[in-house]
């Protein structure tokens, strides 16, 4: 079940779903120059990451993903952001992504669940 706020100039999706046994609140917003994705299982925004496509002339795009707030020792979070920015890029958008993950576990199943859920409800 999801709701789409349409008349407000920033499209935004807000939904609640189960990912790997944990209730997850998912928020996806599309600003003019950024995408914002929030996935929360712990009642806070958790760790915030920034992912962007690098400007370059190489055939294959490169991406820069960094933790800007929170856990810096959890590679699965970075991997999650990396997968999402790559999907954004391959969908034709060069907007960077701000991703906030407040998760109860950092297992691969949870990460895959988050990535697939976000892609399923994406705004790009």
């Amino acid at each position: 079940m999801e709701s789409l706020v349409q008349r407000f100039p920033v499209p935004c999706k807000n939904l609640s779903l189960d990912i790997n046994g944990n209730k997850t609140e998912l928020v996806i917003c599309s600003y003019e120059d950024h995408f914002l994705v929030m996935a929360s299982q712990i009642g806070t925004m958790g760790t915030i990451l920034h992912a962007r496509k690098e400007e370059g002339v190489a055939i294959h795009p490169t991406f820069n993903v960094s933790v800007i707030f929170g856990k810096r020792d959890e590679p699965m979070l970075v991997a999650c952001a990396r997968q999402l920015i790559e999907h954004i890029s391959s969908s034709g958008s060069s907007r960077p992504l701000v991703l906030s993950l407040g998760l109860k576990d950092h297992s691969m199943e949870t990460m895959k669940g988050i990535v697939s859920s976000v892609i399923e409800h994406r705004l790009w």
Binding site: S3, V5, P9, C12, K13, N14, Y31, E32, S40, F69
Partner: protein, 156 residues
């Protein structure tokens, strides 16, 4: 829930804001209806306000002990991101820029005062142009009004 305010905030709250509040009430126009996305577990409040020829867009996402807010000024750019929280054991507020806005701190003052007034951790994205104290003050006033109506601060 509200934290203790410093002298500076007392000035901002009383004299300066009261001078402008009458003017703002005359010119405030609600551009669009407030939209609440509540199908998910999180409550998202989105609204727009026209104040003194500037269009502000606001988004507020309420967590149990944290608030995410976005302020757009005449655009839907994400802007600079700030995080603010109260420090322990002293009752001061720490605020930091976490994305953009390294030398100008247009949103950091708003973030800091939101923590003081709500007592919660704040993550604020703000695209108000720098060197615009009136825009800042107007935006902060509207945001605080909405937070009060959502029950985050007891009005004096």
């Amino acid at each position: 829930m509200a934290g203790k305010e410093s002298e500076y905030d007392g000035v901002l709250d009383s004299d300066l804001v009261s001078v402008y509040s009458l003017k703002l009430q005359d010119q405030t126009t609600h551009l669009s209806t407030t939209a609440n996305g509540a199908a998910g577990g999180l409550e998202i409040t989105c609204f727009s306000e026209l104040v003194d020829d500037a269009t502000f867009h606001f988004q507020i996402i309420c967590f149990p002990k944290q608030i995410y807010a976005w302020i757009g000024c005449n655009s839907t750019k994400f802007g600079d991101l700030y995080a603010a929280a109260s420090t322990r054991p002293s009752n001061t507020v720490g605020v930091t820029s976490i994305l953009g806005g390294s030398s100008d701190n247009t949103g950091s003052g708003i973030a800091r005062r939101l923590v003081l007034k709500t007592g919660l951790n704040i993550v604020l994205a703000c695209s108000i142009p720098k060197n615009s104290p009136m825009l800042e003050a107007n935006a902060e006033k509207k945001l605080m009004e909405k937070l009060i109506s959502l029950g985050y601060k007891q009005p004096r």
